[in-house]
Amino acid sequence: MQLTKTIRLRLLLLWGVLSVSLFSTNTYAQTRKITGTVIEQKTSDPLPGASVTVKNEKRFAVTDASGKFTIEATTGDIVVVTMLGFQTTEVVVGTGNTVKVKLVEKPSHLLNEVVVNVGYGTVKKQDVTGAVSSIKGEDLRSTQPTTFEQALQGKVAGVVVQQTSGQPGGGVSVQIRGVQSISGGSPLYVIDGVFYGGAITTPASMGAGTNPMAGINPSDIESIDILKDASATAIYGSQATNGVVVITTKRGKGAIPSISYEMYTGYQQLPSKVQVMNLKEFATFINERNNKGAGWGFDARPEFVNPEYLGEGTDWQDALFSNAPMSNHSLSVSGNEGRTSYFFSGSHFKQVGIATGSSFKRTSFRLNLDNKTTSWLKVGTSLQFVHMNDNVGTSSGNVIHTALSQTPDIPIKNADGSWGGAYNRNGWVNSTVNPFAVATINVDKVNRNQIFDNTYAEIIFSRNWTLRNEFNASFSMANQERFNPSYTFGTVVNNNNGGAFGYSQTLNTVFRNYLTYARVFRNKYNVNIMGGHEAILDQSESSSGSRSNFPTNNAVGIDGGDPTTARTGSSKGHTAVESYFGRLNFGINEKYLFTANLRGDGSSRFVRGNRWVATYSGAFAWRIKNEKFLKSVKSVNDLKLRLGYGLTNNQGISATAYTTTLSTVPTGLTGIAQSLDNVPNSKVKWETTKASNIGLEGTFFNWRANFSIDLYDKTTDGLLLQLPLPMYSGAAVGWSPGALIAPFVNIGSINNKGIDLNIGFTAVKTKKFNWRTEANMSHNINEVLKLNTDGASLNGWPVSRTVVGRSIGEFYGYKVDGGVYANIKELQEHARPAKNGDILPYGPNGGSIWLGDLKFKDKNGDGIIDEDDQYFLGSPRPKFQLGLNNTFSYKNFNLNVFFTSNIGNKVFNSMRVQGEWPGTSFGYLKTLNNFAKIEMIDPNGSPTDPANLHVINPETRVVSLRNDNTNGNTRTSDSYVEDGSFLKCKTINFSYTLPTKLIEKAHINSLRLYASVSNAFIITKYSGLDPEIGSWDPLTAGVDGGFYPQPRVFTFGANIKLTK
């Protein structure tokens, strides 16, 4: 007891937020005191902590340790007793002064009776007609995710979650049921009615690799509903094409206030390293290249004369990566005081990145309030404030790429304490910066503040009519502070320091009103009709400033820089969407359920005439279990068939794609100039997706086993895409100085077919031991049906190509034919590359093909290697995605092991293009040691006569040491395309829940301790750091160019819940 008090006191002090007494007692006249006892029906044990109210009155009591309560009531009043895990029971007050209430435990399948948020309303899980997957908050948190999307990985069939960067709080790309839109591919997130993400409401974000969604604290999440098919998403209309993730945060419930504290702390490590040459190997290689490499002979490095005396040199990965801590503390208070329920939480999350120069911090507060003001009015709010700090120096400096590029002969620091760097201007010494120094001294910090608020008022006109008015305001700001000091890394010198400051903010406001009519006719027909209007205005502003030439490298703030070097910039933008929507739910006998959605959206992104679009859907569900023939079958607890069809629309293009804008630029002529920004397309229209879904789900054997299977077929027409035209257009997607911004066009059609499967089974269920297995599997086939590009392909240069009949963004290039040209016969007979149609000669001189050059497959057999000999080399998208979750519990011990797997996806390992090319002056991969070795057949013969030479390792795919690349050895080929399939042990979590008896006297409701490992191990053939490579751009997905890997995390944590 004393101990608990101490803990509680500490917690209170620690958080300093809970000094308020949460109780007040109200008494009313004209009533009398009723005392009662609440007991468990079977055991007759008293039940403490049950909430007791008088129906339609404010009065309210809680049972004490012996199950007793006292409340004011009059005869005829109805006393309602509720308690978590028990069925709500009502008792009419008679003439006596005591009542006895027996509570019946809820059947286990109803314990977690799921209410699904389907948008603008909720329905019970069994009444859902569309393809909706739901996850409970606690399941989500089992992997200790930094951001909530990370936690979705492997949990839901049909949802592909990939991190676009493993940096703390880094971006995550989420695809629901394949890529159906090449632009704006992320789903819409709706958090307590606040739109977040989607086409028009992305919060302000700055800095490389940051995640705009990182503001949501996973601890606050009660449940997530993922609307996957059109029949479910259509109610969200124009933003719903990529699926909708509806997030419901915790709200106050239960009469007893509860205080919950969750914490974990842990440390993270780099799971694996890329094998690079150490100094000894590097020096040996450089010598070999200099001595034996044809056309070299100018790169002698005197310091490498005796490689055997050289040590390991610098391991830049060791330098850059280190074990790093992370921790999370969340405290929440929730309860329900008669008319008002409340949930208040605060949390602090801190993660230092495993790579130097990266970290993430988040402090968030949430207040969810619901007040039943009168019998006809309910008001409430969901309010969140978040403050985040990102350190993105690692990503902005592309430090991981640089670390793998730097050579082992460069020290991190010199003996005198100065930073190491290239020391030799002569010879082939690259001037790569010191990556560790860059990550350490450069400042690149992002601060973000976000406020999300959804305030509602619900008016209950009658039993059937309800009007809900909502006003959402999401305000977000981000600022980025950068400072690049001057430095000297050996011969790599930067004399100029510079600082920059950027600020951006968005304000998104939504007015939403909808009227719901709900009624059951003749106890048989269940009708629910909803109609409403919504107006969204999104406003954004940004400004930036920079200066250079600071007097010191310790400058803070850009004001310290030379005023004559000052630069400023700003921008402002706005978009708007207006919508009308309606839904009809109609159920007959709880057997046949119909849903119809209709929505009209107008968007400011299109010119008048193309502005408005209609979204619709229909769905039917048949609850087979409620048919007579199944009613009596005990082994089947539930069985439901679902059919759905719908059309949704997408507007994911830039706000002013229909017109040309001009930027003011400086010129050497007098004054300024107005420079064209983009190629406009005023004909651009909405993208539409038609989707059908058929699903079957059921529960069997006393709720021990369950499954759901869904088949879907979706076709998107008028695909919106920023068109990557050939270079002769002068337009480009992405960074390309001087190019016009490529136009947005309706490019074609794409189809996604697939299957989502979930199975769960409680294999063992005894009093002490339980074992439950849950598995999900999804399979998606993506096919481009049409491209309105005159037969052209879409190229994600240099690695991918998108054509009709294949999936989006498949890798495209040459195939290596076995290995290298190994002898004269192969030089003569095997196809060689051509230039302007003429086959290139072979020979040792430059401009010719030589032994040790890669042989590429002559696809069309015309004897030359040219553009026509390219193949499709696989897709970056997994063919199958699997999740497997096993939970074992023995008494109070619980073990959870969770695996995820991707099968059949390819990764383009871009790091190898450079690291396995003998011609670069960068760091080398160990695999480069297997370069093609040319030997003379007759040692006394000619060293240049191909008849006297052969390659002793002809199967190698690493070329010989020759200073010529006429053969184009580094062209995109299957050499760099690797199998990205993996099986990852995502989490192992072991926990112990303290026995209730031990803690209940201390008024601790529950106390759970756990230890866990995330990303415990991975089984993969991929040679890079991590095969999970996410990308925002489907045309260039799966390219590993120095990817920040996901760390392995060891954590220890505790969850404590206190009541009263």
Partner: protein
């Protein structure tokens, strides 16, 4: 609940529900930028629009990766060793994935796209209240620059796509290549329009009709030899046109050669009277490939902005060095630095700069920010308005057009213009009648003399490769010989840098950077970038006619 309150509230809310937003809720024009629908309304707007075509990011890539790498490295005037793509140019082993050639292709088309957008917007959006002459004058500026870009495309790739309206590519992105002669004709049409509609005088740095006529003379001269390989004779009609337009510029423009050759490349003399077309760089535009990045070749921190030396060095070839006559020191010194050369105007605050290395590029190395009175300049934003066409070039074009298909000419005008260029080089008054100034005059001109004079006069300005291509059109053996076997030596002996002993004033050839391939006729046409052919396989088809 009070039923009146309920009724009022519910009807109010029902009204709110039914009320749509105001009609223009969905009209959201760009807020922080000018947009094309409301721009191009006044003569001033048109001037602002065309001003953007003279420099900035549309030219940055070309100026950095193409002008010197192709014009002077590929042609063997200079060597850049440690830059893989430039090394390919040096060794003649250029492939269709060469980054420099990809930059060249894409940057010329970027320039074209900007010009197309400007031309079409002015045509479609400018109201009739703006006089036609103003409209045509603005269009003429854009068409000159577009013509310049197509001329360069024709020189390097021959048959290429011709794009006039970028927006048409949205629906029809796959285009054919058009015949080389049609690309030249397209460039000539653009320049003819420009010659007709540009003013004779304009704001400093802006194009004039003389710019267009000078450029026309050059394009006609190049066009004259096209497809003449078999007969070895250039088309006389085109030669006459070249002479006509060059003559116009020389005689009617009133422009004069700048008396001091070295001044041409000083920022104090930006847009001097000799400059016909110069890029209008601003020292503020310092983004990567957005400004004039030629200072990256600066060899020393003292003569670089903000004390940062360049990161790349361009070394003159021994072959270029050997072209300079003994007395041609002023021109040489303004083009390349040799050991011991002193430049008082560089790092002037510290008494000038002396070069102690072997040999290195001088042209475009304009010194530090104090030398140029340009505090914002950086390595990537040199304030030098480097000229792409200047009067001396036109003088030599006049001489070459006059020479035409003859083995030599003594045409007095041609010889005089040729000599004026030479006199200035030797630091004599080009316009003087004083006999002393005529010390280095010649009395007749041959093709060899012209090639050599152009090579040294215009070295490090991106012209020499174009001259060789022009020659290769009608006499490829000679073009190949110049690159390779001149004086019985191989290409490998010419395309190397040298060490210089300033005591004995002797140069000693250095080792080549890799294997230098002997040029062939095929070396004069580049393969279309691989990614472009992959994107549009029609580019592999035979070229079709545009006209």
């Amino acid at each position: 609940m009070n039923s009146i309150i309920k009724a009022i509230t519910s009807s109010l809310l029902a009204l709110l529900l039914l009320a749509s937003c105001s009609k223009d809720f969905l009209d959201r024009p760009p807020l922080s930028k000018v947009n094309a629908e409301t721009f191009y309304q006044t003569p001033q707007d048109l001037r602002l629009a065309t001003a953007a075509l003279y420099a900035g990011n549309l030219w940055g890539d070309w100026n950095q990766n193409c002008m010197l790498p192709v014009g002077d490295i590929l042609s063997g005037n200079f060597i850049v060793g440690w830059w893989g793509d430039a090394a390919q140019l040096n060794t003649f082993s250029v492939t269709n994935t060469n980054g420099i050639m990809i930059s060249n292709w894409s940057s010329l088309y970027k320039i074209i796209a900007r010009c197309n957008g400007t031309i079409n917007n002015i045509k479609r959006k400018t109201p009739s209240t703006v006089p036609d002459s103003t409209k045509n004058g603005a269009i003429a500026e854009a068409r000159f620059i577009r013509g310049f870009a197509y001329y360069n495309l024709a020189l390097l790739w021959g048959a290429v796509p011709i794009i006039e309206d970028t927006e048409e590519l949205i629906t029809k992105p796959l285009v054919n290549r058009f015949k080389t002669e049609d690309v030249y004709r397209f460039a000539i049409n653009d320049l003819m329009f420009a010659a007709r509609h540009l003013k004779a005088r304009d704001e400093k740095g802006r194009l004039t009709t003389w710019s267009a006529q000078g450029m026309l003379s050059k394009v006609y001269l190049t066009r004259a030899g096209l497809n003449s390989q078999s007969q070895g004779m250039r088309d006389q009609a085109f030669l006459d046109s070249a002479k006509f337009y060059a003559g116009n510029v020389i005689k009617k423009s009133g422009l004069k050669l700048l008396p001091n050759y070295a001044d041409l490349f000083k920022t104090q003399f930006n847009d001097n009277e000799e400059s016909l077309f110069a890029l209008q760089w601003s020292p503020i535009t310092s983004g990567w490939l957005e400004g004039n990045m030629l200072m990256v070749y600066s060899p020393d921190a003292k003569i670089s902005p903000r004390g940062e030396a360049g990161w790349s060095s361009m070394l003159p070839s021994i072959d270029l060095y050997n072209q300079y006559e003994q007395a041609d020191t002023f021109r040489r010194k303004a083009t390349i630095m040799l050991k011991g050369d002193h430049y008082p105007e560089l790092d002037a605050a510290n008494g000038g700069f002396t070069w102690n290395g072997d040999c290195i590029l001088k042209k475009h190395i304009v010194g530090n920010e104090k030398d140029n009175n340009a505090p914002t300049m950086t390595r990537t934003s040199s304030p030098e308005h480097n000229a792409l066409l200047r009067l001396a070039d036109v003088y030599l074009i006049y001489a070459e057009a006059t020479l035409g298909n003859n083995s030599s000419t003594s045409d007095p005008e041609a010889v005089e213009y040729f000599n004026m260029v030479r006199r200035r080089a030797f630091f004599k008054d080009p316009y003087a009648t004083d006999p002393d100034s005529k010390e280095y005059d010649v009395t007749s001109i041959t093709e060899d003399m012209l090639i050599k004079e152009r090579r040294v006069e215009l070295a490090a300005e991106g012209h020499y490769w174009n001259d060789l291509v022009r020659l290769a059109y009608y006499n490829s053996p000679k073009a190949i010989q110049i690159l390779s076997h001149g004086g019985g030596s191989s290409a490998a002996s010419k395309r190397v840098s040298f060490t210089y002993d300033n005591k004995t004033k002797t140069a000693k050839a250095a080792e080549p950077n890799g294997d230098i391939v002997e040029p062939t006729i095929g070396s004069f046409t580049f393969p279309i970038p691989a990614q472009e052919v992959t994107a549009n396989p029609k580019l592999l088809e035979p070229a079709v006619s545009y006209y």
